[in-house]
């Protein structure tokens, strides 16, 4: 969204425009050649700004003609509809021989041709049948070329390709006042006939009179119309600096360096009509003709009719009939004991609404995808608002039982909205690509593509680009970018500039701030949406241009999800969820270890042991509730049933936190505050959450029962929550809510409170349905952790990177539960970590089961630098027997020196009977192609090795080795070796700190595990550190953080002085000072100048 609306200073509505030629008030100019900022780095205004300004100036119409893209057209369309000005859809093309051409869509056919032309130019779709062979390879070539240079994809348009798609398009040739003009005009006239014109564009360049005369002459000679246009790049003159800066960015230099390419003045903005009339006075009719040409292009995006693919319905059945049949069949399966009455009612209601709105095909398509995933054994689960639908539950798309939850179908599909329902499905992370490729296969490249995501300039990227453009040195730019925090807004920029040593009030500082302020929110490039797939019945490229994504094998449409929403185009979000992968793996591990075969549905429900564990905040690795914030909430909430988990998932979110709902809820839950409801209707809505609205649905229902909104209006309210900051919107709803409630006899105070709470959802709130979907995964993962810790940890390790914790913490956690963890070993480990049996061999050994439950064998994937293919070769080769020597291993598993070294460094060769140094020594030997280099034969040694005496490894070295090569150590904690020195300095362990009384000042040391800066925490940083006794949560106030920023940001290990704070059994350390931990030995090691050899690597996962 644009960050600012255009500021139009004194728009003159045709004040002087009424000349002698036309009746007063008749708009007489339409701008036909406009470049918006969706022509990346070429335009300096948002499409909305251009459209609104054109309307304010009284234009008869405006075209948006971006460079080979229609990406900005939907936004322009929305704005044009809002203000009521005709929008002409078009694009600026450049043929491969360099001719520029502006084209506009006359009608639907022309629009299709334009989309198809652009798609072909980008190589986003295979060429049409008939020419398949020739152009297919051409398209593939274009794709490959685009992938090669990795730059922005380019659109290659041969002239005859343009000619082949000329039907329904009008064209304008920007004139150059040169001798070749008429020839170009005549050439395009052969293609477009009467539908081509010359675009006369002048911009006070000194010889305008001469140019206009030449334009006229060229057009006369070629026999085409001459039409006035502006080659507009920005909506107001004031954007010239930004345009200059963008030009510099585009050419990769500073403004000073690209001076030759800058515009010499800011005339290429939207002018008042009187100015234009004067400017084109010597070209009579040129201005008026622009209106005629605009009027001839009647196509509007409203004409697009989206049709959902219908391939999934079996022959002879209607979509509606098939859907109903499938739903009832599914319902019978879901409720073996008979479908509850409530659900029956819901299903009938929903089916009626679906068939009324014609969404049957959509549900069936999603059903088809889910069915495909199930067939392949891919875990999947719908999330988001789809869980509000009983149909989705019965089709197996979601897992939240509508019999147990209140569902609000209007949240999902509403009659008022008449807009696409949105079903998001999570798939196992590493198998989602199968689903996406299934869709491409089923629908074909020309009918399926992914949604684009418009990547916009944010503060940091804007500062980087603008800083370079105005000539700041690279290191200065890097320095500024570094001091910027993710959450910073523009208004903090001056402060940050000062921090980086740039005077914010100096010329440069002010220029930078102004440019950055304008640039933020500008589109930067088209990325690929995480999972949104668009599919159509007809060709998708008739609807929107398709271009290849940067990722191989993917193509994207040029619109993002808001654009698709605006035009009512349905999409399915196929998302990837790492936890589903982990759960699937854990199920497999449990089964492999002789346990039962589990599915999401067969995990025993409501196990008290699980809730007891969760209440202790013993949730490292559990989905969603493992973060620091969640863990500190758990002991206060003490979840005891599934619905408590739903609340837990939803409550630690910015929405409820900022709406001030968390503390009232906690107080009421602990009985400190009475629960009361103003009336029974409200009790019905809020009873589940003790009178505090925690979910979006509750806000909506509250609006219905308390303020008299219709369900559709309530949904508008929800949508407006996302746009709270826009002025006007919020006031309107505020008035209606408060008036509605007071007129129903509710206290104004209560109404204001409800409003404040609803307003909180504007930040970020969870719908109940979504929270419920997630809570199910929370429960399943907690159950696995509780009952099968080894299998669960193995699965988590195999699914890294995931969640908040690094392997070291996961392993520490599982060891604390009494699971024995075995080190990586070439003779025992599989690629992934797996469950093994005490004293047993490993995944492929025979498991002699003894006593105390399974252990965990770390996988070869833990070894840094070892590839999956090499790991697989080791596993395969081991089937013929264990490895005896390094040579044996190298030969049978065909491992190169680097792989052997990685294994040796990680200590994975221990079972070959040698310590780590010896193993490295062995691995170092050059085994590549022995014998092929006769000269080296002399150098090859086999016997002498026994004589080598290598120094023994100290325990500390072992641990550092472990951390450097696999990120964790089973031997000891690195801090253990510094403990004596630390104790002398008065530094205590984290365990001691946890036992310290409230308010006591302590000093602790630890490895930094994570840094987080939640947007709700007013700049406070949360640090977790770990020493050999455990982890501690450190709260760092901004002022402390700033004092020691460099330490805080990058040190691997820190010493922190802090005050102990305890609340409801959770201990926080409030930092007052922090510094880098320099261990004595590491400091000594530096002297030899060895490259970082003995120091600890940085381990933390940072979210700030």
């Amino acid at each position: 969204m644009p960050s600012s609306r255009p500021v139009i200073t004194s728009p003159v509505f045709r004040s002087q425009g009424a000349g002698p030629e036309g009746p007063c008030g008749l708009p007489r100019y339409a701008e036909l050649h406009v470049t918006s900022n969706f022509s990346f780095l070429r335009g300096a205004s948002h499409p909305e700004e251009l459209v609104r300004t054109a309307h304010a100036l009284g234009y008869a119409g405006i075209a948006i003609t971006d460079h080979t893209t229609l990406a900005g057209i939907v936004r322009a369309h929305g704005a044009a509809k809002e203000v009521g000005i005709p929008l002409i859809v078009g694009a600026t093309l450049t043929t491969i021989d360099g001719e520029a051409l502006v084209v506009w869509a006359e009608n639907r056919a022309g629009y299709s041709n334009l989309c198809r032309l652009l798609s072909l130019g980008y190589g986003g779709i295979p060429a049409e049948s008939g020419q398949e062979q020739r152009d297919g390879t051409a398209a593939a070539g274009a794709l490959a070329e685009n992938e090669k240079d990795r730059g922005p994809v380019s659109c290659r348009l041969p002239r005859d390709m343009v000619a082949a798609h000329a039907a329904g398009l009008r064209a304008g040739v920007p004139l150059a006042a040169a001798d070749g003009d008429w020839r170009r005009l005549a050439g395009w006239r052969e293609v477009f006939g009467e539908r081509v014109c010359g675009l006369a564009e002048v911009a006070l360049e000194g010889d305008d009179a001469v140019r206009l005369e030449r334009f006229a002459r060229a057009c006369r000679r070629a026999g085409v119309d001459v039409v006035a246009a502006g080659d507009v790049r920005c909506h107001v003159r004031a954007r010239l600096p930004l345009l200059d800066a963008l030009t510099a960015v585009r050419h990769g230099g500073t403004i000073e360096e690209v001076r030759a390419r800058l515009l010499t003045n800011g005339e290429r903005h939207l002018h008042e009509q009187s100015t234009l009339l004067a400017r084109f006075a010597s070209l009579p009719g040129a201005v008026e003709r622009s209106v005629e040409w605009a009027a001839a292009c009647t196509f509007s995006l409203d004409e697009l009719r989206y049709e959902y693919p219908d391939a999934v319905v079996p022959a002879g059945a209607t979509a509606a009939g098939y859907l109903a049949e499938t739903v009832w069949r599914g319902a019978a399966k879901r409720y073996p004991d008979g479908v509850p009455e409530k659900v029956c009612g819901l299903l009938e209601h929903e089916l009626a609404l679906v068939s009324e709105l014609g969404y049957e095909a959509y549900f069936l398509t999603v059903f088809d995808i889910v069915r495909f995933a199930r067939r392949r054994g891919i875990l999947c689960q719908g999330r988001g608002s789809a869980a509000n639908s009983a149909i989705c539950y019965c089709l197996g798309i979601t897992s939240v039982d509508p019999a147990r939850m209140q569902v609000l179908f209007e949240r999902f599909i509403s009659r008022e909205r008449r807009e696409a329902p949105d079903i998001d499905i999570d798939f196992e992370h590493h198998r989602r690509e199968e689903v996406i490729q299934y869709l491409y296969d089923t629908y074909g490249r020309s009918r399926a593509a992914m949604t684009a995501e418009v990547i916009c300039y944010r503060l940091r990227s804007a500062v980087r680009d603008m800083g370079k453009a105005i000539g700041l040195s690279l290191d200065r730019v890097a320095r500024i970018a570094e001091v910027l925090d993710v959450g910073d807004r523009v208004d903090r920029l001056p402060e940050r500039l000062a921090e980086a040593g740039l005077e914010p009030d100096g010329d440069t500082g002010r220029r930078l701030t102004a440019l950055v302020g304008e640039l933020i929110g500008f589109p930067r490039h088209l990325g690929q949406h995480v999972g949104g797939m668009v599919m159509t019945r007809g060709d998708l490229c008739d609807l929107v241009p398709i271009q290849p994504a940067t990722m191989a094998g993917r193509s994207i449409v040029q619109w993002d999800k808001d654009d698709l929403d605006e035009l009512g185009i349905l999409k399915v979000d196929c998302l990837a969820l790492g936890m589903l992968t982990a759960i699937h793996r854990a199920f497999d591990q449990v089964e492999a270890a002789g346990g039962p075969k589990l599915t999401l549905a067969t995990v025993p429900a409501e196990d008290p042991a699980v809730y007891e564990m969760v209440s202790r905040a013993d949730t490292v690795g559990v989905f969603q509730i493992e973060s620091r914030a969640q863990m500190s909430m758990l002991p206060r909430l003490k979840p005891a049933c599934f619905y408590d988990l739903v609340i837990e998932v939803a409550i630690v979110r910015p929405g409820p936190i900022q709406g001030g709902m968390v503390h009232p809820y906690l107080r009421r839950r602990s009985g400190e505050e009475p629960v009361s409801y103003p009336n029974e209707a409200i009790r019905g809505v809020l009873e589940n959450t003790l009178g505090v609205p925690l979910f979006q649905e509750q806000a909506m229902r509250l609006a219905v029962v308390a303020a008299g909104f219709t369900p559709g209006e309530a949904d508008q309210l929800r949508r407006a929550m996302g746009a709270w900051r826009r002025p006007g919107v919020i006031d309107e709803f505020h008035r209606r809510l408060v008036e509605g409630m007071t007129s129903r006899g509710l206290a104004a105070e209560f109404a204001e409170q409800v409003f404040a709470q609803i307003r909180g959802f504007g930040e970020y709130g969870f719908p109940e349905s979504h929270a419920a979907s997630f809570a199910l995964l929370v429960y399943v993962s907690a159950w696995l952790k509780c009952h099968h810790p080894a299998a669960f940890t193995a699965a988590l390790l195999a699914s890294q990177p995931m969640g908040f914790y690094a392997p070291a913490q996961l392993v520490r956690d599982v060891r604390q539960r009494g699971v024995r963890v075995l080190a990586v070993d070439v003779n025992a480990s599989a690629w992934h970590a797996c469950v093994c049996h005490r004293g047993g061999e490993g995944a492929d050994g025979s498991p002699p089961r003894s006593g105390k439950g399974p252990g965990l064998r770390l996988g070869l994937e833990q070894v840094h630098g070892l590839g999956a293919a090499e790991g697989e070769r080791i596993e395969v080769a081991r089937r013929d027997g264990l490895f005896g020597t390094v040579d044996d291993l190298a030969r049978r598993a065909r491992l190169g020196r680097e792989a052997l070294l990685s294994l040796a460094r990680a200590g994975a060769l221990a079972s070959l009977g040698m310590d780590r140094r010896r193993a490295v020594w062995e691995a170092l030997r050059d085994r590549e192609r022995p014998g092929s280099q006769p000269l080296l034969v002399d150098l090859a040694d086999d016997e002498d090795d026994d004589e080598v005496e290598l120094p023994a490894t100290t325990p500390r070295e072992e641990v550092i080795f472990d951390y450097r090569t696999s990120g964790l150590s089973l031997e000891a904690h690195p801090l253990q070796f510094d403990r004596a020195g630390l104790a002398q300095r008065g530094v205590v362990t984290t365990a001691e700190a946890h036992d310290a009384p409230e308010g006591r000042c302590v000093a602790v040391a630890g490895i930094v595990l994570s840094r987080q800066r939640p947007s709700t925490a007013h700049g406070i940083i949360f640090l977790s550190i770990e020493d050999e006794t455990g982890a501690a949560n450190v709260v760092v106030r901004p002022e402390v953080w700033q004092q020691a920023e460099a330490v805080a940001r990058r040190a691997a290990a820190v010493v922190i002085e802090a005050r102990v704070q305890r609340r409801a059994g959770v201990v926080h350390l409030l930092a007052t000072r922090m510094e880098r931990l320099v261990s004595d030995e590491a400091a000594g090691g530096g002297e030899a100048g060895l490259p970082e050899g003995a120091s600890l690597p940085r381990m933390s996962r940072d979210f700030c």
């Binding site: 021989d97 001719e99 004067a278 460094r905 020594w921 170092l924 460099a1046 940001r1049």
Partner: protein, 656 residues
Amino acid sequence: MPRILTLWLPRWPVQRRLSSNAELRHGPVFVCQRQPQGAMTVVAWAIPRRPAAPQAGGKRAGHVRAGDAAAGPATAGDGVAIHAGMPLAEAMAAMALVHGPHACRRAWIDHDDPAADRDALLEIARWCRRFTPAVAVEGSGGDERQRPECLHLDVTATAGFFGGEERLARTAVWTLAARGLHARGAIADTPGAAWAAAHHVDRLAALAGEPATRGRRRSVVVAPGGLVDALPATGLRLDGGTLQKLCEVGIDSIGGVMRLPRKSLASRFGPLLVRRLAELTGERAEPLEPLPGGELPQASHAFDFPLSLRGTSEEQFAQCLRPLLEACMRPLSAAGRGVTALQVRLERARLERARLQRPGSAGADAATGPAGRSTATSAPVVIDVGLFRPSVAVAHLAELIRLRMSRMQLPKEIDGVSIEVVAAGEIGSRQRMLFGAAEEAGDGEVAMLLERLAGRLGRAAVYEPRPVADAQPEHAWMAVPPGQAGRSTGRITRVPSDDRGSPARGASRSAASQSGPSPAPERRPFWMFPRPLRLEPLLRGAARESAEHRESPERRAASGVPVRFRYQSRVHRVLCAQGPERIETAWWRGPWVRRDYFLVEAVVEAVVEGSGEGKTGGDRQRDAGRDGSGNVDEILRLWIFRQVRDGDWFVHGIFA
């Protein structure tokens, strides 16, 4: 066994810059390299000591001394942990951690220039030939080290002349120190051993049982047959990967490596390690490559008695220089080369030097000893002469030297004078054309004139303008050294940007369509004033419309070009005007420039008498008119503009 002196100039890239620019010593210096991805990484750096404890010298605290550079590879400057290859931003942050954020603001950051580093090191190497003829820059013998920081000198035969090896090593280090360079020196049997020793002078001294010197010990001699086993393995001149591997198997000293079975080393650590060991022990000879590039001639003359410059006329002094110059030019001209830069050194008279020298000041170590005989510690007066094109003309060079000397403060008396050719280039042998001889000669004369001018005014004062594409007319040119205007400097190249001229110029059309149209040359006046001159409009309104410049009356009214205006005390009547050409630019370098330019044709209607200045201006104008067409009512074509901000009018140029 030969004896090799290795001189190590730690962090040479920084030292080189510090030695040429004393101001840099006040703040941190970073020499950086741009990585292909655009990130900047540190190559070399120096950070001033924190002015914590006031030292004896008081004032010197807080300055970068090149000596800080040798404090240790991993930590320099109060434990700031920076290593080569670190991202610049990170290095700055690490420094800020210790020295506070203000240190970052003072930091001076320069781009890496290995070629210049190498050239400067070669220069030092040449200078070192005073110790022995066999001097080599490390790595010149096919070595893999990319950034040489060391010089190897074969002092087998020459040490005796300097009072023994200890003394020679000390002398070499301290004479370099007198030139502002920090060096460490070590003498050993092989270049490898000397290299290792030079890099660990302190360690060796400590092993020999000397008291800790805290980095002040700068030279060491390893006795013939002596070992350097105890030194760290980094002394072996290995790449980081090999060192890392050695570290992993627990080997950290040279001795440790030596004790490993030699046979098994090559296949594990690569042939380099084996070669280095062999070089260290002398099993493999490492011949010193002679300095590259051939010898540039030099010549010197020592006077029997100090020569008083006061009492010597310029001509007499030129007579002294002549033979020296001739001696230098002879070998050059034989090779078809000419000098492009030369250095004249005037050795201060020893008496004067003695007066200058305070007892106990720096250099006491070397200069006062007997070995200091040949090494002047008070710097000679150096005159650098640069030429725009190679030359061997002795008279011309002598004149250039004279011109330079006339602008310098010279010592009263000198002991000797020497001339060294610093750079030479090919004298282009152009094919002479039958009728082109005159032009050729003229060309050469222009060059000589330029050099004379440069000699008198300074090189910066002589330049040649070159057009640059910039919308603001007074910025549309830049000054370049003479003779280079035709060449591309690579930085700013003129872009043929008027795309309207060639619409079908290929794919660049789309790029060019955004680019600003730079004006056609015919729309710029031939004579442009350095500063616009104000003109005073007398009557606004529509001027008569001329036939060739048809303009709509509406437009004229809008543009508001004055019909009559006063400029340089004369009233002009505008016949016709063409324009406007609007220029809006320059916001990124200062205030906005917003102007509407017009090309007007005007005639002088009346001369306003009165002001003397106006009269002269008018006279000149009249004269100009007579010289031209002889018509006083000649039509003037002026380039005028109106400032959009306040509507003031100016004349900016005159079309021929």
